[in-house]
């Protein structure tokens, strides 16, 4: 793999890691409120997938790092966490709802499994429009127990849709161990009768990148969807308010030994690594300053965006 790409992946993972550190810090300082699902530990999956896939992406509520690596600015994401008007969703969305159709990023969805049927529909649109690309939908192992997931694998297969299903298997559905609630520990088992499945080390950014690239190529062949299961592990609780008491210190130690940043770092030039670390700190500091300085949304615009401007004329 070429050096420039590896450096880009490392930079994006490090930016994501420090973004999440800053988000956590600002949550405890009271600048961020509500839900906050940190991606610390899972950067290889988020960055590898977003950098590799060409097409439209639908993700979950744990999407800061994905939005960043897809090309959304750290400033706009941090400002959204602060609920400010320069946030990517102008303070209407918050941590779980980041959207940028310009770069094919459609959330940011806070209903577990709720976005999967939307991705199926978008894949239908891409096929109908004879587009060369399709869609990627990212979801957790917990979502594979939802009815909508099973409906989606059936429809995507029967319609031969260009759709990559990417399961982020961190082995916990919020705080419940996957074996407690799922018939299988590997979720690909649920899909094998429908489409090809691939398992990848979700803690290895190069492996994720390659797997998603290949999956992206596969869906262009018109043979239908593909399922990629990335085995991963989050370093934090499900959300900021989750004390993570359901995992032993031993389990956490093993998990943290798989740190995707530490895995890639030795393969890179030391001078680059030092330079990029300084750069990331500057980027994140700037994002936090930007978020602080951005104004609150205007209360006069409470009704804005519910409908189009044309629709709003009727609604009020």
């Amino acid at each position: 793999m070429d050096t420039a790409l590896m450096e880009d992946l490392y930079y994006s993972m490090l930016l994501g890691r420090h973004f999440e550190y800053a988000a956590k810090e600002n949550y405890f300082q009271g600048n961020i409120s509500g839900f906050l699902h940190l991606d610390i530990g899972q950067e290889a999956l988020s960055v590898g997938a977003m950098k590799a896939f060409e097409g439209d992406v639908f993700t979950t509520y744990r999407e800061h790092v994905m939005a960043l690596s897809r090309g959304m600015s750290a400033n706009a994401i941090m400002a959204e966490l602060f609920g400010k008007v320069d946030g990517v969703s102008k303070g209407r969305g918050g941590s779980m709802h980041m959207f940028s159709p310009k770069i094919g990023f459609y959330g940011g969805d806070a209903i577990v499994g709720g976005h999967i049927p939307n991705a199926v529909g978008c894949a239908y649109a891409r096929k109908y429009q004879n587009k060369k690309t399709g869609c990627l939908v990212v979801f957790g192992d917990g979502a594979t127990n939802c009815g909508g997931f099973f409906e989606s694998i059936n429809i995507a297969t029967s319609q031969k849709l260009p759709l990559v299903f990417l399961c982020e298997n961190n082995k916990y559905a919020i705080g419940t161990k996957i074996e407690t609630v799922s018939a299988f520990s590997k979720q690909a088992k649920k899909v094998e009768a429908y489409m090809p499945t691939v398992e990848v080390d979700g803690m290895d950014v190069l492996a994720v990148y390659k797997a998603i690239k290949k999956a992206g190529e596969y869906i262009k062949e018109g043979k239908g969807p593909i399922f990629v299961e990335a085995m991963t592990c989050r370093f934090e609780g499900h959300s900021i308010s989750d004390a993570n008491k359901y995992r032993s210190s031993e389990e956490m130690k093993k998990c943290k030994e798989l740190d995707p940043l530490l895995k890639l770092k030795p393969l890179l030039d030391k001078v680059f690594v030092e330079k990029i670390e300084a750069q990331v700190i500057r980027d994140i500091t700037e994002a936090v300053n930007f978020a602080h300085e951005s104004p609150e949304p205007s209360l006069a615009e409470l009704n804005k965006y519910i409908f189009t401007d044309e629709g709003l004329k009727h609604a009020l």
């Binding site: 439209d56 639908f58 990517v88 969703s89 102008k90 209407r92 969305g93 709802h97 959207f99 940028s100 159709p101 459609y106 959330g107 940011g108 969805d109 806070a110 209903i111 709720g114 976005h115 999967i116 049927p117 939307n118 991705a119 199926v120 529909g121 978008c122 894949a123 239908y124 649109a125 891409r126 109908y128 429009q129 009815g147 909508g148 409906e151 989606s152 059936n154 429809i155 029967s158 804005k304 965006y305 519910i306 409908f307 189009t308 044309e310 629709g311 009727h314 609604a315 009020l316």
Partner: protein, 325 residues
Amino acid sequence: MLYREAINLALDETMSEDTNIVLLGEDIANVGGTFRVTEGLLDKYGKARVIDTPIAELSIVGNAIGMAIGGLRPVVELMTANFSLLAFDQIVNHMAKLPFMSAGKIRLPMVLRMPQGVSKQLGAQHSENYENMLSSVPGLFVFAVNSPNYAYHALKKSIKMDDPVIFIEHELLYNKKEEIDMKSDLDPFKARIIKEGEDITIISYLKMLDDTASALDEIEKELNCSCELIDLCSLNPVDFKTLEASIKKTGRLIMIEEGHKMGSYGAQIISWAVEELFYFLDAAPLRLCGKNVPIAYNRKLELASIPTPKSIKKDIINWGRINGL
């Protein structure tokens, strides 16, 4: 033209103009729809645009949302509103909220058609009315379709809107006949005065409007008064202007609907009138609704559960007498 033919024509004409419009639903392509609304469209537009879906409402609506995100203009047929419950997360959390949560970056030009209501002995799980729930969700336009003319014009306009629309039909109206005024520039958001009158404003929609209309002559004769009958048409937003003018004129208000009385849609209209027009009211408003019971299979029990022309007549005459008419 029949109500179902008017809907078919609206779909056909808009589809012929815009290849982004696709239809999806259960049995809508090959069979032509349970109520024959989409008959002939598969042959004309092909299976990529007239899509038979699995019996999976969550996905039908969820997929349509994704199609709209992807640049299409889907028109969904849910076989009946009873099954919309399976899709409620998609309707409420996605269809209604994605445009807002994305600060307008996502727009969902889509229409969700669904027939509802008490038909004939379909039992408790196939006889519900959900306009009260659907109208309570910010982010959706909700239209209730009583007539072929409104169906034709309002559907065409709904399909061309860039905002999500819930288009509620009634199962017993599909064979209703009416000439369509092709030249009309009908505003789907505007309530329709069916009959002008001086003494009582009666507001209704869907099938109850027709049941009320059929009892009107006798009511007027009996109470020696004239009633103004209004088809609400748009349940959200509400054309309060038209209602207000009528209530100020008559001083009396009756709201008639088929859904259960507890949490009924019309309670909102009565509440608004009491809050805003209290001093214009000469009598306590009357609200006629379905009873708070699941709809039974037995025909007599079924009819005892909802307003009928006979019960409407009796209830309005009683109310009129108590209130000095």
